[in-house]
Amino acid sequence: MPYLGSEDAVRELRRALSNPNVQSDQLRYRNTVLKAIRAMSQGVDVSDLFSEMVKACATVDIVQKKLVYVFLCSYATLNPELSLLVINTLRKDCQDPNPMVRSLALRNMTNLRLPSLVEYVEQPLAAGLRDRAACVRRVAVLGWAKLHNLQPDAEIDAAVVNELYGLLRDPDPVVMVNCLRALEEILKKEGGVAINKPITHHLLNRLKESDVWGQCEVLRILQRYHPQSEDELFDILSLLDASLVSPHPPVMAATLGLFLGLCSGLPAVSLAALERVRGPLLAACGSTSRETRFTALCHIQLLLRSLPGLMGAHYKRFFCGYAEPAYIKQRKMQVLVELVNDENVAMLLDELKGYCTDVNPETAQAAISAIGRIGRSYSDRCLEILTGLLGLKQEHITSAVVQTMCDLVWVCPQCSDTVCSALEGCEEMLQDSQGRQALLWLLAAYGERVSSAPYTLEGFIDRVRSEASLGVKMELLTTTMRLFLCRPSETQDMLGRLLHYCIEEEMDMCVRDQALLYYRLLHCGIEETHKVLHGQRSDPSLGVLIGRPAEPINQWAYSFNTLEPLRQAGVETEPASRGSPEHVTFDPKPNTDLSDTLNCSQIEKLGTPISGQLLPFFFAEPLKFHQVGWGASVHSHFQISPEMFNRVQVRALAGPLKDIHRVVPKPLLCYLGCVLRFVVLLEDEPSPQSEVQSALEHVFIQDVSVHCCIHLSLNPD
């Protein structure tokens, strides 16, 4: 951001730089150059000084030279002609007796990034490869990679490539590693540097000479190597064993990555390697650097997928520290949930209970939902804690507890009695839409057992005019309908009022359509309504958390030691921030990985018991639409080309599917069985027999035997 008077500053600097008095005084000259660079790094555009800087480059003062080069490399691309003037100085410096000056000149010559200068650079670079100083060779080797990337289409000089291969035997380890890096870039089209047996063995033997960074690079490149025999493989593994428990997390991670790659056919060996890295990984979890801690935690989560018992005995290491940031606390809680077993459950729950009252509401919510997840296996203890938390009468805690209970009863119907009795009277404490939606869903499912349910609903209906959340309104409609089915005398009146309001006064299309749908459904008779609305209240098949099968390592090995585990973190916690789910739009792209994680067998398993579910499609013609939000479920049976559903928008996710968390990657948590609503808006007027429609019907009926109501021609206002 250029600040006021930056032009003056530049003019001032130019005057100073071209002042012969300044130029003759080395210190003053250097300080003036320094000022220019300072202005540059503060964001002032000082490119006008280029020609003065070119002159300043010809000096014996190395500090000044370095400063000028920083400037020249930043602005060279803007001044290609003037840069030509620098080349002479640089080429002269390449002959300097001081190796530091030579390497400096060579490095900056290649950093100018001007294709027009390539012809002047090649000769010094070639000489640099044979320089007697290692620091010059290091620079020269990488210089060839830079040249190649400047002209990616130019033919690769076989002589240079050969020389680089030869330099793999250079006595300097950094030159060796740089050769690997340069060859990897130059030969990218051919799949990178050739990794054969002699090269591999050479690299492995010299591994110890390199520093941490060199070792990581070598280990990464060696992942492409395929040992010819099992003996050779085991030789390599035992050679690398010391690196596996290296105190440096980068080396440890790179070695494990290589182990997993080499042993992809030998799961037992891979598992043993995971056991070996337990110590170093735990140490990284206790590192002073938060970021290292976080990275280690994310990778431990990966490892736990294949070896759930790996950290069982060390659960205390995952207790949250007082001053840790929320994102680390949440990761730790996710790990703790995985580590639960009969011995430690009491300690663990006690610890988690302590986090529930954390000052940070997000941490508190994460702790509560962690308790809920443990509750799937230890429901009594967890319910006791959860109901205890309701007694605190804190808004965010109550909301999180109700949401957690809602998830819990879906998996463990045996909890429903406790939950029903706990629900009484907590509606006053619920302020956010997610919490109220969860409460409504619970009332819909267990309304006949909560004596105050109609009064609660009445309160909601009285306030419906001021209700802002679409999700709550939709949920309210469904709940009132379902409660009407089991307690008609108490609810008939309020249902009438609600439907009247929604159909006559409500502005939101979605709510209106939903209300109209219910209205027509009631016309069809109570039997029909019952069939459609009486959904399932729980899904025991969703499984217990503990004792879930260990995944094969290959499922995640490719993402080990990449940025992916850390980024997935982002995706997963986003819904945890409980953004309103009703307008979530799935891009077609994320869907591809969704369908990877959710295979259809799971959906089919879920599908059978839930016939009689509601899955309305609304087709409204004039709304411009390009979206097919193709949820998550059906990809393999889906024969029709996806372009058909350019973009489907998931407008509202009702039922316990209030939280996208369930749909996104974790297969265990996908409550696909319930009421998943797609609002499909088509650009053209669909004919009733249109291909799209029949395809949808086909798909849904085949995969999840769902009752599919399609409403045509709802007149849009």
Binding site: I37, K66, L67, R317, Y327, V359, L563
Partner: protein
């Protein structure tokens, strides 16, 4: 492979920006700052993406140290470790890490970056190698202060204070030793971090210690250094040595330059320290501390008839009676005038500060809520845990001691060796 490295102040000012591969423009700096400040507290900020570009950052010294990369397959461990190492280098060269010191030494930092990374590939971060290349002098940001003179006695006589290095002695640029010539110093720090959870009944639920031995060397050239640890030092549960009280750790890791040939027999580490700071040894100890935790709390919580909260806290320090400086957090009504307490509404916590806490004594505090709670009959609000934040100088919880620190061959110039011990609280939680 790193595409760019930049340093931002916490206000988003651009301090340092260097592009190594020309894959993205400098406008991403602002993009990064917008992204990182828009995150809510629970979203992990470490890795963020903007199109094809991935930002990885660490926070050190109140600054953002950011590296960008275009390949999602880059190792996060490597990049984060590199950023941490780079910030440590900057600290070594500039003396301290702050917005000001980075601003003043930007030329030095550009020079460092130039040598450390070439074309996005990390070349070296060893200060031994770098010292041959780095030419720029560090600019010290410390203003002249009269207090510096207080160490000089009348007529230049040695005072008591001049025999003790001030705590800031180690935070100066490593290069200055080259000019000042005389001050070739070595600091050996044993730093332990405790994380302890004590349950409401006084039961120790968890007690972990993470320790490290750090060497900060200001000698331009140092030959070999020998560090002797306690002879009873043992690693793991099974291995016990000697007859006295064993000093035991669960796991121990050494810097790769440490020679361990004398370690097994005599518990001596040999190494040639490079200039600047490095961690020689890291160790950890879980659950089985050799001594009881240093602080215990005896709380009494009552409610009077009006629902007011009365909290009486008695904090006992179970350390041998030496003098300890304790900076402690939580609660108020104080038994001595130099303590203070403050109610922090934002954190909903009471901050009880005890400037000095003598071992073997106890302090007490009484806190009362003055207004009755708002609702007529509310459930008692829970009182959160007490968290202690302290620093125990001259003490290691594990009992690790340095027997000796020898330089061989004996240095020609007089060298000063400082050995310091300190235990910090990483997270010391006492449940009520």
């Amino acid at each position: 492979m790193i595409s760019q490295v930049f340093i931002l102040s916490s206000q988003g000012d651009h301090l340092i920006y260097k592009d190594f591969r020309g894959e993205a423009g400098s406008d991403v700096v602002s993009v990064f700052y917008e992204k990182v400040t828009a995150l809510t507290g629970d979203q992990p900020p470490v890795v963020m993406s903007h199109g094809d570009l991935h930002f990885v950052h660490v926070r050190q010294g109140g600054l953002y140290w950011v590296a960008t990369t275009t390949s999602p397959g880059s190792s996060p461990f490597t990049i984060i470790e590199f950023l941490n190492r780079f910030s440590a280098l900057v600290k070594d060269y500039c003396g301290s890490l702050s917005e000001k010191s980075v601003q003043m030494n930007f030329a030095l930092i550009y020079e460092l970056l130039d040598e450390v990374v070439d074309y996005g590939y990390i070349q070296t971060t060893s200060s031994d190698v770098l010292k041959n290349f780095i030419q720029t002098e560090a600019v010290s940001s410390k203003p002249f202060s009269l207090f510096d003179l207080s160490n000089v006695g009348f007529f230049g006589a040695e005072t008591q204070q001049s025999k003790v290095a001030p705590s800031s002695a180690a935070s100066r640029p490593i290069q200055s030793s080259r000019e000042q010539g005389g001050r070739s110093e070595i600091f050996l720090d044993v730093i332990e971090r405790m994380s302890v959870v004590i349950g409401s009944k006084g039961v120790v639920l968890k007690a972990d210690v993470e320790g490290e031995v750090r060497v900060k060397c200001f000698m331009p050239s140092c030959s070999e250094m020998r560090i002797g640890l306690n002879e009873e030092f043992s690693i793991g549960k099974s291995q016990l040595r000697g007859y006295g009280a064993a000093v035991r750790v669960d796991e121990c890791r050494f810097h790769q330059n440490v020679h361990l040939d004398e370690f097994h027999s005599n518990r001596v580490l040999r190494l040639c320290p490079s200039q600047g700071e490095q961690t020689v040894m890291q160790y950890q100890l879980s659950d089985d501390l050799p001594s009881a935790p240093p602080f215990r709390l005896f709380p009494t919580i009552e409610r009077d008839s009006g629902g007011r909260l009365l909290m009486y806290l008695k904090l006992r320090c179970d350390l041998p009676s030496k003098r300890f400086v304790v900076i402690s957090a939580l609660s108020q009504e104080l038994s001595s005038p130099d303590q203070s307490a403050e109610l922090k509404l934002q954190n909903r916590a009471i901050d009880w500060k005890i400037p000095r806490f003598i071992g073997g004594t106890q302090l007490s505090a009484l806190f009362k809520t003055s207004s009755p709670p708002p609702h007529p009959s509310p459930p008692p609000p829970p009182v959160g845990p007490v968290v202690l934040v302290f620093e125990l100088p001259q003490l290691t919880v594990s009992g690790l001691q340095i027997r000796f620190l020898r330089l061989s061959p004996v240095q020609p110039a007089p060298s000063q060796r400082w050995i310091r011990y300190v235990t910090h609280s990483d997270s010391y939680i006492l449940r009520l």
